[in-house]
């Protein structure tokens, strides 16, 4: 909350203050001469004092103020900081049901807007196409003042995200609202992926590493992964995309499943078959992928022990495993809303400046009017 100058060099124009001062100085040689018959009774008086005297003080002061305002105008003053009261902005994603949202939020005084470019008012129609939600939220966050409050209303699943987690300056009130009752066949939910793990009667060595990795997936994103860990013989659940076969060889039923488009990971050490998809620092092949029909078999190096496969202990082993099993997909821009709730980060916000130029301009016009009135009035008198 302070006043600042955008062009401080403009204050050099204050040198113009000298001009009215010089004009108004009473100059000795220009005194009036009057005829005076009674001169002999007039005594020559003490000379007028040496200090400077100015003619018509009020007009001089008005002109000085005028020049100062003009210099200030050149220096472009602005008022930093926000002197408005804190707003409460409620921004709603296009996919929510507005009535339900209003009921949920209640009667509070706030500025309702749609989460769309330009942030139109809630009175207008909801945006129909998918909006870049992350980007818009970041934009809104940076344009609001620090004191403002922000509430975001999203449906259960939010689309239009980008790869970066949303981190905002404002502490957002992230509310999940019932989605609009609209059916869109093209709407795909964020895929819940089903992974099946089948183990034989005897556990193979190192299977705990694989199980641990799978555990990591499901703990990070519980909604996204469905893990079916059963002994052999239990049929695979529908829509299984990936299978981890913790046994020697897999039967023909599995093979036919793979040929239809499934992927299976086998720990058999036959990394010579198929394409190498994972090498370590010494260029040793750790895993290879063998195409089989529409699916693939991924051979993992065995035995699964930290001594032979140090990568088992790496922090990104679960991720690698995920990449091996599941086909590389287009990065999804959909997520469950409660998983993408923004976090708070400390960042500098651009200050909102208000330009004082119109105010100074108006003041200048008024003072100029006053100066003209004083100047012409003086001549009449």
């Amino acid at each position: 909350m302070s006043v600042a100058l955008l062009v401080p060099m403009g204050l050099l124009a204050l040198a113009g203050l000298l001009i009215p001062l010089l004009i108004h100085l009473i100059r000795r040689p220009e005194q009036d001469i009057s005829d005076f018959a009674a001169l002999r009774w007039l005594r020559e008086s003490v000379r007028p004092k040496r200090r400077l005297r100015f003619d018509d003080l009020w007009l001089l002061l008005t002109r000085l103020v005028l020049v100062s305002l003009a210099a200030l105008l050149i220096a472009m003053p602005i008022f930093r900081g926000d002197w408005r009261t804190a707003h409460h902005v409620i921004v709603a994603d296009g996919g929510i049901d507005l009535a339900a949202a209003r009921m949920q939020v209640g009667e509070i005084e706030a500025d309702w807007r749609w989460l769309a470019p330009g942030f139109p008012s809630i009175e207008e129609a909801a945006p129909t196409i998918a909006q870049p939600v992350s980007s818009l939220l970041r934009e809104l966050d940076s344009t609001l003042a620090r004191e403002d409050r922000l509430t975001v209303l999203v449906p259960a699943q939010v689309a239009g995200l980008d790869a970066q987690r949303i981190a905002l300056v404002h502490a957002v009130d992230w509310q999940e609202v019932a989605a609009k009752a609209q059916t869109s066949a093209t709407d795909q939910g964020p895929t819940t992926r089903t992974i099946a793990v089948r183990h034989g009667p005897e556990p193979i060595s190192g299977d705990r590493y694989l199980r641990a990795a799978v555990e990591v997936w499901s703990s990070l994103s519980p909604d996204q992964w469905q893990i079916d860990d059963q002994p052999l013989g239990i049929p695979l659940p529908a829509k299984t995309e990936g299978l981890i076969w913790l046994d020697a060889a897999f039967p023909g039923s599995i093979k036919s499943w793979v040929e239809k488009g499934g992927r299976v990971l086998v720990v058999d050490g036959k990394v010579g078959q198929g394409e190498p998809v994972w090498r370590d620092e010494q260029s040793e092949i750790l895993a290879s992928e063998e195409r089989l029909g529409r699916g693939a078999v991924v051979h993992l190096q065995s035995p699964l022990s930290p001594r032979s496969l140090p990568v088992l202990l790496d922090a990104d082993f679960p991720r690698r495993l995920q990449e091996l099993i599941l086909p590389a997909t287009r990065p999804s821009d959909r997520a469950f809303s409660r998983e993408v709730e923004p976090s708070v980060v400390e960042r500098a916000l651009a200050d909102r400046d208000t330009s004082l130029i119109p105010l100074i301009g108006l003041l200048l016009a008024l003072v100029f009017l006053l100066e003209r009135v004083l100047a012409t009035h003086r001549k009449v008198a």
Binding site: Q31, D35, F36, A37, R40, W41, S45, P48
Partner: protein, 296 residues
């Protein structure tokens, strides 16, 4: 120079009177010790309040049913001399009214008293004094004389200093004892004051009107100012605010001194400031109360 009508109206109740009445022939307005016959008729004048009822011509009243008073040629032995100072200092005018100088005021006063004298049938003459011009109109009476004097007044212009005593001597001798002399001047020049006092001492009745401008009375100047004397050409640079009180005090002292001197020799002296009405000094000199006193 034509007097404005309303000024003329204000002069109606003024009378020129002299203190010492000289002997003259015949009856007249002025009480005289010598009363004799041989009236030379001059004109009939309408009766005005204040005239003696015995002067009314009753035969004319019978004919016209209005009162008329006879006036005779030698009824009025009064001779009025108007002396106007036309030196350079008389060109002083107020800044507020730059076309009305002291000389203009003097001319106006002169025209007024000429009118009074004419009405009374008195004789009058004019003397205008300055270095360049020394105007002299010998005394006479009647409208012709008035026109001559008014023309001379119109042509009178200010400039220079007063002529010295030797130049004036022949003219002073034309002013007979017993005449009324009206001196219109600002009295800044001591020569004229001396002459007035000498005349008064020599059995002439002298009336003096001192003309003062409003600025000389008030000194309204501000800030630094340069003043110039018209007669001597001297300039003085003055800080008006600090000089004001001093000037007013000294000028007032000088005026009081002058009045005392003139009064000591029997000169009737009054002051007239330019922003006052022009008939005020005349009223003081010739007003009704005065003439009432004289009639006794």
């Amino acid at each position: 120079m034509i007097l404005p009508d309303e000024l003329r109206a204000r002069l109606r109740d003024l009378r020129l009177v002299a203190r010492s009445t000289a002997g003259g022939d015949g009856l007249g307005m002025h009480a005289s010790r010598s009363r004799g016959a041989g009236l030379e008729f001059a004109q009939y004048r309408g009766y005005e309040p204040g005239d003696e009822p015995r002067r009314i011509d009753w035969k004319l009243f019978a004919r016209s049913d209005r009162y008329f008073v006879r006036e005779a040629e030698r009824d009025s032995p009064l001779t009025l001399w108007i002396v106007i100072d036309a030196s350079a200092s008389m060109a002083q005018a107020d800044r507020a009214r730059a076309n009305y100088s002291k000389l203009d005021a003097a001319k106006l006063l002169g025209a007024c008293v000429i009118e009074l004298a004419l009405r009374q049938g008195d004789r009058f003459g004019l003397i205008g004094l300055s270095t360049e011009q020394l105007r002299f109109i010998p005394e006479g009476a009647g409208p012709r004389q008035r026109d001559r004097c008014l023309l001379e007044l119109d042509q009178l212009a200010s400039g220079g200093a007063l002529p010295d005593a030797t130049q004036l001597k022949p003219f002073w001798e034309r002013i007979r004892p017993g005449s009324l002399v009206l001196v219109l001047s600002d009295c800044f020049d001591d020569g004229l004051v001396e002459l007035a006092m000498r005349l008064s001492a020599a059995r002439r009745e002298v009336l003096s009107i001192q003309l003062i401008s409003a600025e000389e009375r008030d000194f309204p100047f501000r800030n630094g100012h340069r003043f110039r004397d018209q007669e001597t050409g001297a300039e003085l640079r003055v800080d008006a605010r600090t000089a004001r009180d001093d000037f007013i005090a000294r000028f007032a002292a000088a005026r009081a001194e002058l009045a005392k001197r003139l009064a000591a020799t029997g000169v009737r002296h009054i002051e007239h400031v330019l922003d006052e009405p022009i008939d005020k000094p005349l009223r003081r000199l010739f007003g009704a109360s005065q003439s009432m006193v004289e009639r006794r």
